[in-house]
């Protein structure tokens, strides 16, 4: 199987190219392989931002960030968890909750099977508990390879249960968002997850507990308009596309060229909708620091 990488997604740009960090399929892939194999699985990649060519392994070693220009490649949930959580600390929860096909929507069941096999995930979010710099928290990370992180009933249910669990156990929640929005194939079941997750965020918040979100590219639609924007502290990755309506839709509707930097993390910072832009290689340290600052309060 040819490994693939995801390059950054912007309106009109092609999405998947190579995904070089799919999860190992068997012992051979997991274990050390011969030099020849490494060469075969270490093709050149061209950075979509600076157009430099480099071996995939050099990008991978830099947390999926271009060593030349700092471009943040799209990254899967499992890999983010490896970057972020203390080694061996992540314990997955609610992985048995998977999508059904409540509307009997044409082609949806088949699509779920295909996407599941390709992404090696069974839903568009991975939830659990973890320690970040020794700080225990609940963690959810959305998965771009599973229907572009779209939110159906299973995603909403997993996130809701995570917040309920965190509220019960007095834990902060850290969440990484990447999503094209609500999942069309589940109709109103998807839409209602926006209200459901918002209710769970509120209950967690009312206990005086911290919720920190990191918006990664792209975070749009119904996820932006619900739990992504409900964090006490909202961070974003450099260059991330963040918005509600899709940029192409806005352009078609307004029939005017979009302003430079429209719907980027940088413009969101400028307009006051994110607290800080934190590059991937600093996220672990920054998040651990923020979590530490929220311990030992008077509440």
């Amino acid at each position: 199987m040819v490994p693939m990488i995801y390059v950054s997604w912007k309106a009109g740009e092609r999405m998947p190219i190579l995904n070089f960090r799919r999860r190992p399929q068997n012992e051979l892939e997991r274990g050390g392989r011969s030099r020849a194999r490494v060469d075969q699985t270490d093709p050149e990649t061209t950075c979509p931002n600076c157009h430099r060519s480099m071996p995939v392994s050099s990008v991978w070693a830099n947390k999926n960030v271009c060593p030349g220009c700092g471009h943040h490649y799209r990254t899967g949930a499992r890999q983010r968890i490896r970057f972020l959580a203390d080694e061996g600390s992540f314990q997955e929860m609610f992985s048995d909750i998977v999508s059904e096909d409540p509307l009997k929507f044409p082609g949806y069941t088949r699509k779920l099977a295909v996407v599941g096999a390709a992404s090696n995930e069974n839903e568009a979010v991975v939830c659990g508990t973890a320690a970040i710099g020794g700080q225990k928290c609940c963690l959810f990370v959305m998965e771009p390879q599973f229907m572009m992180g779209s939110m159906g009933a299973a995603v909403g249910e997993r996130i809701t249960r995570l917040f309920e669990y965190a509220a019960e156990g007095g834990l902060p929640v850290v969440g990484f968002t990447v999503s094209g929005g609500a999942r069309m194939q589940e109709g109103l079941f998807s839409l209602m997850q926006m209200a459901k997750t918002s209710g769970a965020v509120l209950r967690h918040s009312e206990k005086g507990l911290l919720y920190l979100t990191v918006l990664t590219s792209p975070t749009t639609g119904g996820v932006t308009a619900s739990f992504a924007m409900e964090g006490d502290i909202i961070l974003a990755e450099p260059g991330a596309t963040i918005g509600f309506a899709g940029a192409r839709v806005v352009e078609q509707t307004t029939r005017k060229p979009l302003p430079k930097g429209f719907q980027t993390a940088e413009s969101m910072l400028e307009h006051g909708f994110v607290d800080a832009i934190v590059p991937r290689n600093r996220q672990r340290k920054v998040i651990a620091g923020i979590l530490r600052l929220h311990t030992g309060g008077v509440k």
């Binding site: 509307l103 009933a153 009312e206 119904g222 918005g243 509600f244």
Partner: protein, 260 residues
């Protein structure tokens, strides 16, 4: 009943249908409109204020599409921007302060799509409404009178009771949008509408709406009188319901849970 889902879509979008302001004028008395979000602007796509419902003071919020071409343009075709949602939010918090029930009339193809709306946080405005409405201590009833377009409609419909007019629709995406994504052909909107299960009858069957309001006498005095009676009755019931906030949470908590 040979009406298709797309017939409902067309009816729900009809220009001659009563709009939010018609409902306010015909159902409530002493309506006093309150303007502005106290942040940036006053969004003409959202009308809100205080009024009496069969004698009881309530807060009423409606998305207004307008009737004539001129009115429709002036109301941004009933597509609220962040200022509209923030105005609604302000009025709902005010309702909570004074213990007034909130009645919302929802009719939008979706939240306003534009550069300014994005830059002023359309997504954040909707998110804040969802979270705040989940926590309101006063009763909320939402009536979908025409189009219930995705998050832009939900931002005024996190309610204890959701009612839909017979031909109102409620959908996560427009049938045209769905068809262009699915089949690269917006012309197949009719098929998409059927797949999306967006009619009032579907919404009720799945539990997203509690009641369907008959359109037999739509826009006539008996229609408004009956809706007034029902709203007053339901408001009374909700005001006497203990743990309203918990029940609202459970209402939404249940969606997508049973099958999982």
């Amino acid at each position: 009943m040979n009406r298709t889902a797309y017939d409902s879509v067309k009816t729900a979008r009809g220009n001659d249908r009563p709009t939010g302001l018609d409902y306010i004028k015909e159902i409530f008395s002493e309506f006093f409109e309150l303007h502005g979000d106290r942040r940036f602007a006053d969004d003409p796509a959202v009308v809100g204020g205080i009024a009496r419902l069969s004698g009881r003071p309530v807060t009423v919020i409606a998305i207004e599409k307008g009737h004539t071409v001129k009115e429709r343009a002036a109301r941004f075709f009933g597509a609220p921007g962040p200022e509209g949602y923030r105005k609604a939010l302000r009025l709902m918090k005010q309702a909570e302060k004074f213990g007034r029930p909130v009645i919302c009339f929802v009719d939008t193809s979706g939240a306003y799509c534009g550069v300014g709306a994005e830059e002023r946080g359309q997504g954040q405005a909707i998110a804040e409404n969802l979270m705040t409405m989940m926590g309101l201590s006063v009763p909320v009833i939402a009536v979908l009178i025409g189009e219930g377009g995705s998050g832009g409609a939900l931002a005024l419909a996190v309610a204890d009771r959701v009612w839909m007019l017979e031909n109102a629709i409620y959908s996560v995406i427009s049938p045209e949008g769905c068809a262009s994504i699915l089949w690269k052909d917006a012309g197949k909107a009719g098929e998409a509408a059927a797949c999306l299960k967006l009619t009032a009858q579907d919404a009720k069957a799945f539990g997203f709406a509690e009641e369907i309001i008959s359109e037999e006498q739509l826009g006539q005095q008996p229609f408004y009188a009956e809706l007034r009676r029902k709203l007053a009755e339901e408001t009374e019931i909700l005001l006497n319901t203990p743990d309203l906030k918990e029940k609202r949470y459970e209402r939404f908590r249940a969606f997508g849970r049973s099958s999982l």
